[in-house]
Structures are given as structure tokens and as C-alpha cells.
């Protein structure tokens, strides 16, 4: 009896490996809109970054000039 129980337990121990992504096995697919939006937001910020940096530098220079 113990022998059978042991064999049964061994039978339940198996590893299942599925190659690829988990989404390949599902009926649903993801359209990565979140990534797309992030890209747009980032490029919008980056496009204005130069102006912000210039403004920051100008402010620092102005403060230095009047305090020196």
C-alpha cells in the first residue's frame, strides 16, 4: 500500500515547460497602449526639456549675479 502511495505521489511530480510567452497560449492579446502613451508623454516632455533647462540656468545665473 505504501509503495503504491509513493508511486502515486511520484506520478504527480512533473514539470511542465511551455516555450514562449504566456500570452501565446491565451485567446486574448494585449495591445500595448500604455507603452505607446508613455512614449508620447516622454517625447513631449523631452521636447520642452531644453526650454526648462535654459530657464533654470538663467535663473541660477541671475541669482548668482545679484548675490555676488
Amino acid at each position: 500500500m505504501k509503495k503504491h502511495a509513493k508511486r502515486l505521489r511520484e506520478l504527480h511530480q512533473f514539470n511542465l515547460e511551455l516555450p514562449g510567452k504566456i500570452t501565446d497560449y491565451l485567446d486574448e492579446k494585449l495591445v500595448p497602449v500604455s507603452e505607446m502613451a508613455e512614449k508620447v508623454a516622454e517625447s513631449a516632455i523631452v521636447s520642452k526639456l531644453g526650454i526648462y533647462q535654459k530657464a533654470k540656468k538663467m535663473g541660477e545665473e541671475f541669482a548668482r549675479e545679484i548675490t555676488d
Binding site: L26, D27, E28, K29, L30, V31, P32, V33, S34, E35, M36, A37, E38, K39, V40, A41, E42, A44, I45, K48, Y52, A55, K56, G59, A63, I66, T67
Partner: protein, 167 residues
């Protein structure tokens, strides 16, 4: 003379709030885009114009299945339309919709209607020789190359950035 300098902006404040603003922007985009995707399927539109019409065989398969032969190309049963759901990381759709957006080659010669279903429209169940046929892309899903925003949306986002910069 004592000089006092006041600034009306705070880059530290902006840095702290950018992450949240981008996250809100993403959430709103997912919602808006999922609605747009539904509209495209209902109207039979691609991201640039109208979808290619159904082929004659496509019309017959619809009649055999009891679906409307006149509804938009990817909207026969409503299954794809109803599968479009906004989720945290994007928009979830039935994978059939993705294949249609990219175009594909049919692999089988299906018997329609499938299984034990009875043929509708007074027609007889039949096998279609579809294997090897190329189904042209009906590009109704944006990718990162085609996904662009209306200037107004980006400007509104940048206005928020400007607000966050102010003290």
C-alpha cells in the same frame, strides 16, 4: 540693502509629480483608445480609412453561420467587439483581431458552419478551400509607429506640466 528673491517655479515639485501625471495620462489614453478601437470595429474603419470589403466567400460564410452579411468586416458576431477591454497595461482583445490587423495566411479548409451546427440562409453546409489564401491586413490597431496624439491632448498634458512647475 537687503535683497529678497522670490521664484514662482519649483523644479523639485515638478520632478515629484511627473510620475503621477504620466501614469494618469496613460490610464486616460488606454480608456480613450479602447473606445476608439470599438468605434473602428463598429464602423468598419482602419486607422487610416475604410476596411477592405468582405470577399464573396466571406459573405457566404456569414450567411451560412447566420451572421449579418452587411455588418462591418470584423464585426460579424460581435465577439471581437465585445472582447475589447481596457486593462492596466493596455487594451485586451481577442487574438483574432490582432491577426486581422496584421494580415495572415489561412491554414485550413474549414467546413462552415463548424461542428454540428446547421447551415443558415437556406444554404447547405460546405467546405471552403481557404488554405494558403492570404488575408490582407485590415489595420485597425495602432502600433508605436502609427500611434500619434492630437496636438490638443499633448498641449493639455504640457499645460499640466507647466502647472506642476509653478509653486
Amino acid at each position: 540693502m537687503k535683497l529678497q528673491i522670490k521664484t514662482t517655479f519649483d523644479f523639485g515639485k515638478l520632478a515629484g509629480s511627473v510620475k503621477k501625471m504620466v501614469s494618469t495620462f496613460k490610464e486616460q489614453t488606454i480608456l480613450t483608445e479602447s473606445k476608439e478601437m470599438k468605434k473602428r470595429i463598429e464602423a468598419g474603419n482602419t486607422i487610416t480609412g475604410k476596411m477592405k470589403k468582405l470577399s464573396d466567400a466571406g459573405v457566404i460564410t456569414r450567411i451560412l453561420r447566420g451572421h449579418s452579411p452587411t455588418s462591418a468586416p470584423l464585426n460579424a458576431s460581435g465577439k471581437l467587439l465585445n472582447s475589447i477591454k481596457p486593462i492596466k497595461s493596455g487594451v485586451s482583445i481577442n487574438k483574432y483581431g490582432l491577426y486581422q490587423s496584421q494580415g495572415f495566411t489561412t491554414q485550413n479548409n474549414p467546413v462552415i458552419p463548424e461542428g454540428n451546427k446547421k447551415a443558415k440562409g437556406g444554404l447547405k453546409k460546405r467546405q471552403f478551400k481557404f488554405a494558403g489564401k492570404t488575408i490582407p491586413a485590415r489595420k485597425w490597431i495602432h502600433d508605436s509607429e502609427t500611434f500619434k496624439y492630437d496636438k490638443k491632448v499633448v498641449n493639455a498634458f504640457m499645460k499640466q506640466i507647466g502647472k506642476a512647475l509653478k509653486k
